[in-house]
Amino acid sequence: MSIVEIIIRLIIAFGAVFTFVALNALFLVWLERKVSALIQQRLGPTEVGPAGLLQTLADAVKLMGKELITPTAVSRTVFFLAPIIAFLPAPLLVAAIPIAKGVGVSDLNVGALYILAISNIALLGILMAGWSSNNKYSLLGAMRAVAQNISYEIPMLLSLLAIILMAGSMKFSDIVKAQETVPFVLLQPVAFIIYFICSIAESNRTPFDIPEAESELVAGYHTEFTGMRFALFFLAEYTQVFVLSAIVTLLFLGGWNGPLLPPAVWFFLKTYLVIFVVMWLRWTYPRLRSDQLMNFNWKMLLPAAILNLLISSVIYRGGFPG
C-alpha cells in the first residue's frame, strides 16, 4: 500500500467513526427519552420530525447557541481540556469494534484489553472536570466517580478473564468465532452478570449514578459546563453506552453469529437490545448509596469474580470442549 492510499483509507475510517458517534448519540438520546416515557406512561418527544426523532437534533442546535461560560474561579487550562479529554476516547473505542467478520475499522489482536485500557481515559476527563471547576458539587461528583470506577474495574477485568480463557484470544473475531455453537452467556452466566453490572457502573448510569446524582449534587462533575462543553460530556456518555453494549454482545451474546439475517444486522440487533435493557434498568431502579455501592463491589462481586475464574479454569482444564 502506498502512503497516499493509507491516508485515504484512514480519512474514510475516521469519517465513518465520527459520523457514527454523532448519529448514535442523537439516536440514543431520543431512545432514552422514549423508553423513559414508555415506562412512566408518557408520550415523550413527539413534535419535531416523525415520532419526535429530530428532537435531539433541535436540542443540539439549541446547545450550540448557548454561551460557553468559564466561571472566574476555575483553573482555566484544565477546565478547557476536561471535556476534550472526556470525549477523546469515544471515537477510539468505536474504531476498535468489529461489526462483522472483516467489517469494521480494525480488529486488534488485543481488542478486549485495548477497549478496557482506552475507556479509562474518560475517567481522567471527569476528574479534571471536577477538580478544575472549583465547585463543591463538582469535586464531590468527581471523587465519587473515581472511587466507583476504579472499584468496579477489578471484577470487570476478572470476569473478562474467564472469557479470554475459554476463547484463548483477546481478538474480538476469535472470541465471536468461539461462540459459533453456544454463546458464552450460557457457559459463563456468572461472568456475564458481573461484567454487565460492572460496565453499567463504569458508565455512571443509574442505579450507579452517584457521581451525578442530580437530587443532591446538581449535576455532579459537569455542573459548571455549559453549551457545547456539556454536549461533549453527553456525547462521550452515550458513546460509552453503545460501546459497553457492543462489547457485551461480542463477548457474551455471540456477536454477529445468527441465522438467516446478515451478520452486521445481528450485531446491531443484539447491541441495541442490550442498550434497551440498560435504559430499562436506569428507569426502573433507584440510586444506590455510596457505601452500599462499594460494599456490593468489594464484598460480593470481587469474590464472586475470583471464584468464577478459578472454577472455570479448573473445569476448562478437565477436558471442557473448546
Binding site: L10, F14, M64, T72, A73, I150
Partner: protein, 123 residues
C-alpha cells in the same frame, strides 16, 4: 517492515488528533459564533444552588477512598499478570493452573484481611 508499521501508526495517531481537533474546533467555533457573550459577576461565580459561594472548593478534603485506591493498585497489577496467563492457558498445562490458583489464593486472603481490617467501612 518495522519502519513501515511505525510510520503507519504515527500517521494514524496524527490524523486522529487532527480529526478530534477539527470536530471540537467546529463545535466550539460554531458555539462561539452563534452564542451570546455577555458576562456578569453573578453568572461567573461558582454555582451553589442560588446562594453566594463563600468558600473556595480547593481546600483540604477528606478522601475516604484513599485505601480503596491502594487496594485498586494491588488488584489491578494482579490482573495485568493474569491476562497473558489467560491467553496462553492451553499451552501452560497443569503447572499454570496450580501456580495461578496459589497466586489468586494469596490475593483472596489479602482481600479477606482488608475486609476484616474494616478498610471498606465508612462512617
Amino acid at each position: 517492515m518495522t519502519d513501515a508499521i511505525y510510520s503507519n501508526n504515527l500517521i494514524t495517531f496524527l490524523l486522529y488528533f487532527v480529526a478530534v481537533a477539527a470536530t471540537i474546533g467546529l463545535f466550539f467555533g460554531l458555539s462561539v459564533l452563534v452564542g451570546p457573550k455577555k458576562s456578569n459577576p453573578t453568572k461567573d461565580a461558582a454555582f451553589e444552588t442560588g446562594w453566594v459561594s463563600k468558600t473556595d472548593a480547593s481546600r483540604p478534603y477528606p478522601i475516604k477512598y484513599y485505601l480503596v485506591a491502594i487496594l485498586f493498585v494491588v488488584f489491578d497489577i494482579e490482573v495485568a499478570f493474569l491476562y497473558p496467563w489467560a491467553v496462553s492457558f492451553r499451552d501452560l498445562g497443569g503447572i499454570g493452573l496450580i501456580s495461578m490458583t496459589l497466586f489468586l489464593a494469596v490475593l483472596a486472603v489479602g482481600l479477606y484481611y482488608a475486609v476484616k481490617k474494616r478498610v471498606l467501612e465508612w462512617k
